[in-house]
């Protein structure tokens, strides 16, 4: 039987990927960030799942206002790093897992989550930067990946609670998958940040810390946050944090926190990462 071994939450700031791609990780600005990622990478070296479900958002790259869905699952054999305006990132092609992906589609739709399905999806920094954060610069990514794109750009985004329930439905689906494989799930984006408007640059460490604490010990508290709570308290783009609720919903009620890292700034964001293990 398939089983979910752990979840990770991480911001997916494009600048982090660019710092790695351009060999800048030892510069004064980036050094503390990559130092903080060392224990996270060490954990990942010891816990590589067969498949990782990466909950991310596309940034007007493959999915945009002409056609978008609230949730889109990638079922392809592989996913190319996207050209999102500055050429494709020079990172390995992402290998999919169509068997589990199609099992998820069937199980989730029967569970009343009506997903969009994509068989041709270039993946942008929202998905490839977390892979770089976890695995640095390998020749091939050590895990297969199922992309799950969430609309966090166009209002109305799905509610915090809906995201959590989707995570619970993913858990039921994975538990019912007959093959004996290990599965990881990542929630990406956030933490507090605002990239547009006169208030650009706002961050809120108190809100972020509470969110991370809740993720560990009181996840339902995070499902009660409204859209306006995020816009107001975590910045307009802070609503990306709802994707961490999908990850959390797929884990056990009680989890153990293996690692946490928080740092301001990465570009215009508060960077956060957390690893939660199913005991």
């Amino acid at each position: 039987m398939a089983r979910i071994i752990a979840g990770m939450g991480t911001s997916h700031v494009p600048g982090l990927g660019a710092a790695m791609d351009n060999g800048k990780t030892q510069e004064a600005y980036w050094q503390p960030v990559f130092k903080g990622l060392e224990p996270l990478r060490s954990w990942h070296r010891d816990h590589v799942p067969d498949v990782t479900i990466i909950v991310y958002n596309d940034h007007a790259t493959a999915i945009a206002l002409d056609n978008y869905a609230t949730f889109t699952l990638g079922v392809a054999e592989q996913f190319l790093p996207a050209d999102e305006g500055w050429g494709r990132r020079n990172v390995p092609t992402v290998q999919g897992h169509p068997e589990l992906a199609w099992h998820l589609v069937e199980s989730l739709v029967m569970d009343e989550f009506d997903l969009a399905v994509s068989g041709d999806l270039d993946v942008d920094h929202g998905l490839t930067v977390p892979l770089s954060i976890a695995y640095d610069q390998p020749e091939i990514w050590p895990t297969r990946v199922i992309p799950l794109a969430v609309n966090v750009i166009q209002y109305p985004q799905p509610t915090s609670l809906r995201c959590f329930k989707l995570g619970q439905a993913i858990r039921r689906a994975v538990d019912a998958f007959p093959d004996d494989i290990t599965v990881g799930i990542w929630g990406t984006g956030g933490l507090s940040h605002q990239l547009g408007g006169e208030r650009v640059g706002v961050v809120n460490p108190e809100f972020d810390t509470q969110f991370l604490d809740n993720l560990v010990s009181d996840p339902m508290a995070n499902t009660r946050l409204t859209h306006t709570d995020f816009f107001r308290e975590a910045g307009c783009e802070g609503i990306e944090m709802i994707m961490w609720n999908v990850m959390r919903g797929a884990l056990n009620d009680r989890v153990s926190e293996a690692y946490r890292f928080y740092h301001i700034p990465v570009s215009a964001t508060a960077y956060g990462a957390i690893i939660l293990e199913n005991p």
Partner: protein, 131 residues
């Protein structure tokens, strides 16, 4: 219809109102994902913009790189990224020009390194109006 998030200062939630206002502006910005479109835009910006049914004001905002104006006219910052990247400039240049008051790249970077813009005093227009 008024929304409760309209009370958040200096913030442009990309809702249906902005979607409709900025549809063609954002579709132009998104077209810059394609190398051949970037090349065509670089060749003659005004001629390339004429292919999209944008308003005169939206075209001017693009040509003059008025980032905040683009947001006022329905642009979304994730779409605007495509243009600042095309210009080979870091996003902090765009952030600084949207900030109130305006900031240079260095000033914006310094604000973030010092811990970012504080949330206190920046939550609510009503709260700001009442001091």
């Amino acid at each position: 219809m008024e929304r409760d998030y309209d009370d958040v200062p200096g913030t442009y939630v990309f809702d249906g109102r902005r979607y409709r206002m900025g549809y063609h502006l954002n579709m132009f910005l998104m077209s810059l994902n394609k190398a051949e479109c970037r090349a065509e835009f670089a060749e003659d910006e005004r001629a390339y913009l004429a292919k999209f049914p944008m308003t005169e004001a939206q075209q001017e905002a693009v040509l003059q790189r008025q980032w905040l104006k683009m947001l006022h006219l329905g642009g979304n910052v994730y779409y605007a990224f495509k243009l600042i990247s095309h210009d080979r400039k870091p996003p902090q240049v765009m952030y600084g020009q949207m900030a109130e008051p305006n900031m240079s790249f260095d000033e914006f970077q310094a604000m973030m390194i010092a811990g970012g813009r504080p949330i206190d005093g920046n939550r609510s227009k009503k709260e700001q109006a009442n001091g």
